[in-house]
């Protein structure tokens, strides 16, 4: 058994070779298959209680599909997901709704994720009652007020509608809604990328503080490594539906092993003109390949500045633990060679 996959009965969240594929159907007349999009293509992962795992990658790498699969908004094509010993992927569609109070999600766009016709009290009250259906009246209002205070808002704002708030405040409401059913796992999908820079840091601090204070576990998805590094304990880098590097946040940022992680890092512009002038960038060629027809072998060879051998263009390198807790897709052309970042 792969050591990436922990013990489903003991560990908090375990993913075992999760695959989520989308069948594109067949063409109208000839009935030929249009192909399969392998959005998530074999992800194994163990997340400990109280941990913040950062998930980074370019658009189309499957990070959002993976989060929706963990949420069971999409059912995995194959593989297993266990949360606290219960196999989520085996729970029927009818029962999954009631199970979802244990894991909640925060979306990117707080303009789209809140119902414009519901006041904050309605939105949060409904979410509270998924866990405590008996609460109503003053007790319910009290709980909503408490939630608003938790996310740094004023309880007197509970009678307002989403359009009366700014983007940052709406995101706070969305966070309060995710917290309302008292979940243990929160998945935050790009929660700050739609916000202004001066508001981002407020929300990041809030998320980090809440995770610690409430003992939550969080999967934090972003394409911005500097944000992910700030908030995460561990970071997983995804490329074409697979994890290609996984390790402690410090290790990934300070000593990345895979050339793709290095390239991602070197692409981040630093707010420092001198550093930028003297910077040596690994500029990747082109865009990520289509997940409909991913390359064989090392997924990265078509974009790598280092020429790969024929073998690695056909045989996929395994994920290997290079240092304790630091895993990398072990392609000799992507790992270990002297890529100057």
């Amino acid at each position: 058994m792969n050591a990436l996959i922990g013990n489903p009965q003991e560990d908090f969240l375990v993913l075992d070779e999760v695959k989520t594929h989308f069948d594109m159907g067949t063409t109208l007349l000839t009935r030929e298959s249009k192909g399969v999009v392998k959005a998530v293509d074999g992800v194994s992962l163990t997340i400990n209680k109280g941990e913040i795992l950062g998930l980074v990658g370019e658009s189309g790498c499957g990070k959002s599909t993976l989060s929706r699969t963990i949420m069971q908004l999409l059912r995995p094509t194959s593989g297993h997901i266990w949360l606290k010993g219960r196999e989520l992927s085996a729970i029927s569609d009818a029962d999954i709704r009631s199970e979802r109070i244990n894991f909640q999600m925060i979306f990117q766009d707080p303009y789209a994720s809140l119902n414009p016709r519901m006041t904050v009290l309605d939105t949060l009250g409904e979410a509270v009652r998924t866990r405590h259906p008996e609460l109503k009246g003053d007790a319910l209002r009290g709980r909503v007020a408490e939630l608003l205070r938790t996310v740094g808002m004023n309880p007197f704002q509970m009678k307002r509608y989403p359009h009366e708030f700014s983007g940052g405040q709406r995101q706070r409401v969305a966070i309060a809604r995710a917290l309302a059913p008292e979940p243990e796992l929160i998945i935050a999908d790009e929660p700050v990328s739609a916000l202004d820079v001066s508001i981002q840091s407020q929300i990041l601090n809030l998320l980090k503080r809440l995770t610690r204070e409430l003992g939550l576990t969080m999967i934090f998805i972003s394409h911005d490594l500097s944000v992910v590094r700030y908030i995460s304990d561990r970071i997983a880098v995804m490329y074409l539906g697979k994890i290609i590097e996984l390790g402690d946040a410090e290790a990934i940022v300070d000593h990345p092993l895979h050339i793709y992680t290095k390239a991602l890092m070197s692409a981040i512009p630093e707010p420092d003109p001198n550093a930028e002038r003297n910077r040596h960038r690994i500029v990747l060629e082109g865009d990520p390949p289509s997940p409909m027809s991913p390359p064989d072998g090392c997924k990265f060879w078509p974009r790598s500045p280092v020429e790969h051998s024929e073998e690695l263009k056909t045989v996929e390198p395994p994920l290997v633990e290079m240092q304790p807790g630091h895993w990398v897709s072990n392609c000799p052309f992507c790992v270990g060679t002297d890529h100057q970042a």
Binding site: G152, V197, Q200, A267, E270, P271, D272, P273, E276, V283
Partner: protein, 346 residues
């Protein structure tokens, strides 16, 4: 004489709910081949500044209230529509944030690339097509002679933005205005696109106005920086001056709140409160309600005047707070602020 000299540019929108002071007295200038970064959050007026220069403000409700924008000796703000059409797409080009919506999905790339050339140059279609292919090659599109006949949907986001750059630069303009050109793209693609803009700028000697909210992008590519907030200029100077010797509390605070790869702090600095609502008149300093520095004197009063600190570096000298100390000493580090509703927020 600078290529572009903008003085006291002021654009208001007269809406049913009142006057929105989107750009309120902004001045800057730009030499040939230089890059100016305009930084600010949403609503700070940076895009409206660019649209005003291109005279793309919908009128009404918008109106350019006052100011001049001398471009190559002529005032852009006074030109007739006919004169403007000659300048737009020829001497001044623009790239927008979203390459998805700024290309016509029904037309081949070739048609769209050639349009500007045929409009502004006396050129036959064969020569124009060759020029278009050349332009695509220069922005690094492989197989340009074939790809030129593709439709926009056949390109990825990064490739489309390359096409936009090729299109904007095909007439070799003196000035390129890029409004958040990489915001919709991945970081890896962003690096490629910024590289191409820089390289083409060097080849052609084009001046660039780069609008962005990302200080990192500015640091990597701009000679000069203009920091905007609430439609006003807060501070401007060379990139080194703005990044290493920021003077305005907003510039300092903004730099401190960005998570950086280098810094290993546990908690991020935050600026309390929300950006200002420009549909209400702003008295005194626009940043005052959020300014972390100790207040001296009343916030009601005259708008801070721009004051030179060193050659080329000026700031909206605000006398309402004592901003002599380094920002670290005053910015809240630990607690998450209660977002108190600012006046007019509700």
């Amino acid at each position: 004489m600078p290529l572009l000299d903008v003085d006291d540019l002021t654009t208001y929108f007269h809406t049913r709910d009142g006057v929105v002071r989107a750009v309120d007295g902004v001045s800057f200038n730009l030499e040939r081949g230089e890059t100016l970064g305009i930084v600010g959050e949403s609503g700070s007026g940076k895009s409206v500044t660019c649209y005003s220069l291109m005279r793309l403000i919908p009128e009404p409700p918008g109106r350019i209230e006052r100011g001049t924008a001398m471009f190559d000796g002529r005032d852009l703000l006074q030109m007739s529509p006919k004169e403007l059409r000659k300048v737009r797409g020829d001497k001044i080009s623009m790239i927008f944030q979203d390459p998805m919506t700024s290309l016509n999905p029904y037309l081949r790339i070739s048609t769209q690339l050639i349009e500007a050339l045929q409009m502004h140059r006396d050129i036959d279609s064969k020569a124009a097509l060759n020029k278009a292919i050349e332009a695509l090659e220069e922005v690094g599109i492989p197989g340009a002679s074939k790809r030129v006949f593709s439709y926009p949907h056949e390109f990825s986001g990064g490739m489309r933005q390359r096409v936009m750059i090729a299109m904007a630069l095909i007439t070799e303009p003196d000035l390129l205005i890029a409004d958040e050109p990489t915001t919709a793209l991945d970081v890896t693609v962003q690096a490629q696109i910024m590289e191409i803009i820089k390289q083409r700028q060097n080849d052609l000697g084009t001046a660039v106005i780069l609008v962005t909210h990302d200080l990192g992008v500015v640091a990597g590519s701009c000679d000069k920086v203009l920091v905007m907030y609430g439609g006003r200029e807060m501070e401007s100077g060379s990139a080194d001056q703005i990044f290493y010797r920021p003077r305005h509390p907003y510039t300092r605070a903004l730099q401190k709140t960005i998570p950086s790869l280098q810094e290993k702090g546990q908690e991020l600095f935050t600026i309390p409160g929300l950006p200002p609502d420009v549909s209400k008149p702003i008295h005194g300093c626009a940043f005052h309600p959020r300014c972390p520095y100790p207040k001296i004197g009343s916030p009601e009063g005259e708008r801070p005047q721009l004051e030179d600190i060193e050659p080329g570096h000026c700031w909206a000298a605000c006398g309402f707070c004592d901003s002599s100390a380094p920002i670290e000493t005053v910015l809240a580090k630990a607690d998450d602020h209660v977002a108190e509703p600012v006046d007019g927020d509700a």
